[in-house]
């Protein structure tokens, strides 16, 4: 297997006034192509911090991080933006969508940034919305979509630009059980059918139990990292 993400000796310290808050204390981690991985751990353990660093949204205090062999620490802000655009799909906990764009336009947005021709990106966006089960919702603005539907649009967008990895931070935190189940099933299907690589920060057992790789982080370090067969959807 090839590593898509390689973290070596990642530390991250936040300064709060004069106090130094260590959020990550030395993380070594490799995410392989095709992984369907959860990043679990108690609140405050550093999940979000790690995900932000992997996604090129934040920089580590120490250590190196590479995506598809490219060293992120060497990139400036504009280059990091390009890297996020081309290599990473994000699904955040909430406020994922651009309010003034319709569902299909939101999905098209990243492709538009990549100058994909209009016809091609529209077709791909519609196909993605179809994949996430949102046929007929294409022209709705986010304000007219439910929370679950918004997360689906976010997944569709994350996939539309064909990223190397999709990073999701507590994607189910704001969803009810049924909707959360549906979303995780969707992502699992996409992983199995198309080999899309997922890394999800979560402390939601419904999500953890459905992933194949369980990474647990505690106190800013990787506490355990094991492969297990994922439970089937009920």
């Amino acid at each position: 297997m090839t590593a898509i993400v390689e973290c070596k000796g990642i530390t991250k310290h936040y300064r709060q006034g004069s106090i130094d808050v260590p959020a990550l204390r030395g993380v070594d981690l490799a995410i392989e192509k095709g992984d369907f991985a959860s990043l679990a751990g108690p609140s405050g353990s550093g999940k979000t911090t790690l995900l932000n660093i992997v996604g090129g949204l934040d920089r580590p205090t120490e250590g190196t991080i590479s995506i598809d062999g490219q060293d992120l620490t060497a990139l400036d802000n504009e280059e990091l933006a390009d890297l996020r655009l081309r290599k990473i799909g994000f699904v955040f906990q909430a406020y994922n969508l651009i309010p003034v764009l319709s569902a299909v336009e939101n999905v098209e947005f990243t492709q538009q940034l990549m100058n994909v021709p209009a016809k091609e990106r529209r077709e791909r966006a519609k196909e993605m919305l179809h994949q996430v089960g949102l046929d007929g919702m294409e022209n709705r603005r986010p304000s007219r979509l439910s929370g679950g539907q918004q997360q689906r649009v976010a997944v569709a967008r994350a996939l539309a630009s064909r990223p190397s990895i999709v990073l999701a931070d507590e994607p189910t935190a704001n969803l009810d059980t049924k909707t959360a189940e549906d979303l995780i099933t969707l992502m699992s299907d996409l992983n199995e059918r198309y080999g899309v690589t997922f890394l999800m920060a979560t402390h939601d057992d419904r999500v953890i139990s459905r992933t194949r790789r369980h990474i647990v982080i505690a106190d800013g370090r990787v506490a355990s990292d094991e492969l297990r067969p994922a439970e089937m959807a009920v």
Binding site: L57, A81, L85, I88, F92, A94, Y95
Partner: protein, 408 residues
């Protein structure tokens, strides 16, 4: 670049209408501000044109030709020959709309009751009519009927002070060609109305009569001329100067310095007004745009997280401002054009009475849309407005996606 615009334009346009109330307020601030600048410029320009015209159309014309030295000592000693050769060619060409020849000298007028100083102007009425309004301002009696007319036309106020009237005689004294005092009786044939200062100063008789009176043959002391609207007066004067080096040729700017000062003052006033209004507008615009940016910090974080380059975010926000201010500018122009068109017959300043006369304006202002001025002022407001909003836009592009989106 086109791809970028196609991406940013709809985004910016829709963002503009997310908070319609705020957008409308900003649009109103810009449009009312620009409206005040544009209508002010139109009014002041009309005022200054009217003031200029009023002065120039009394006697001055747009330019005058004298013998060198005449302006300092306006007597027959500084007379000149009739225009000839190249100068005459220019005066008769299309570069000059009309010109008149005068013999204009300091004189004393005497009635049975009083002796007063004044200026006697010998003129050719047919030519005079084409650049002066005074021949048409005769309120009693008649104007001169030709260069050989021996009557005299006085200003109403001068006649009142002399206690004379149409049909009576006055005696005029002036230096003749030899420096001796010439004296002659004139029959008062008409009284004209004009600003008081003019009424008191100028009295008119036929050019030939005045020449005979002072004994200077066919010489004259003054040529006044006007140019067609399209003509550049400085250019005409330069050509005249080249054609006759011995003569003193001046434009109205030096002949009527007060009118010129008024028009330059107005231009400066308009610029000052533009800056004041712009400063007020800028405060409003920058404020609302800053507010709009802060409200959407999270969204700017999202845009960057998704891979939109900071520079593109800057462009997007700037584009929003450009559209916002552009809409305001468009509305401001429309409002100004409508305001100006609301006065197709001019604005009558009659209610100001002599007050308007004092500051040198005619009684009716004719406001006119000057496309060049409108374009210039609008462009200044629009450009400066957009530049002012670069600050909020920069804030938006400097947002750190992690901090903006909070901790997920």
């Amino acid at each position: 670049m086109m791809d970028r615009l196609r991406l940013l334009l709809p985004l910016a346009w829709r963002n503009l209408w997310r908070n319609p109330r705020r957008t409308i307020i900003t649009v109103l601030v810009v449009s009312v501000g620009l409206w005040s600048i544009l209508t002010f410029s139109v009014l002041l320009k009309a005022w200054s044109v009217s003031s200029r015209d009023t002065t120039l159309k009394l006697m001055t014309g747009e330019g005058q030709i004298h013998a060198t030295g005449y302006l300092d000592d306006p007597t027959v000693a500084h007379r000149m020959t009739q225009p000839a050769g190249k100068l005459e060619n220019i005066l008769s060409s299309s570069a000059v709309a009309a010109y008149t020849k005068r013999l204009r000298i300091a004189a004393i007028v005497q009635s049975e009751y009083k002796t007063l100083p004044m200026t006697l102007v010998g003129t050719d009425p047919a030519r005079e009519r084409r650049l002066s309004v005074l021949p048409d301002r005769v309120r009693e009696g008649r104007y001169l009927d030709g260069p050989a007319d021996t009557g005299i036309v006085l200003g109403r106020n001068l006649a009142r002070r002399l206690k004379t009237r149409v049909g009576k005689r006055v005696v005029v004294m002036a230096q003749d060609e030899k420096g001796k005092l010439a004296e002659r009786a004139f029959k008062v044939i008409g009284l004209y109305a004009a600003p008081q200062q003019t009424e008191d100063q100028f009295a008119f008789t036929g050019l030939k009569t005045a020449q005979a009176f002072t004994g200077i043959g066919t010489d004259i002391t003054e040529i006044a001329f006007v140019t067609p609207d399209s003509q550049d007066i400085a250019d005409v004067i330069a050509r005249m100067k080249a054609s006759s080096p011995g003569r003193d040729i001046q434009s109205w700017k030096t002949l009527a310095p007060l009118s010129y000062a008024v028009s330059t003052f107005f231009n400066e006033f308009i610029l000052m007004w533009l800056w004041i209004m712009f400063a007020l507008m800028a405060i409003g615009i920058v404020n609302t745009q800053l507010m709009a940016v802060f409200e959407r910090i999270r969204e700017f974080g999202l845009l960057q997280a998704l891979g939109m380059r900071p520079r593109l975010v800057l462009m997007e926000v700037t584009l929003e401002s450009a559209m916002l201010i552009g809409v305001g500018v468009g509305l401001g122009i429309a409002m100004s054009v409508l305001s100006v068109q609301a006065f197709p017959n001019g604005i009558d300043l009659g209610f100001l009475g002599r007050g308007a006369e004092l500051v040198g304006a005619g009684h009716i202002l004719y406001p006119k849309v000057d496309a060049g001025d409108f374009a210039l002022y609008s462009l200044i407001v629009w450009t400066l407005g957009v530049v002012a909003t670069l600050w909020p836009a920069r804030r938006a592009s400097r947002v750190s996606p992690v901090e903006a989106m909070g901790r997920f």
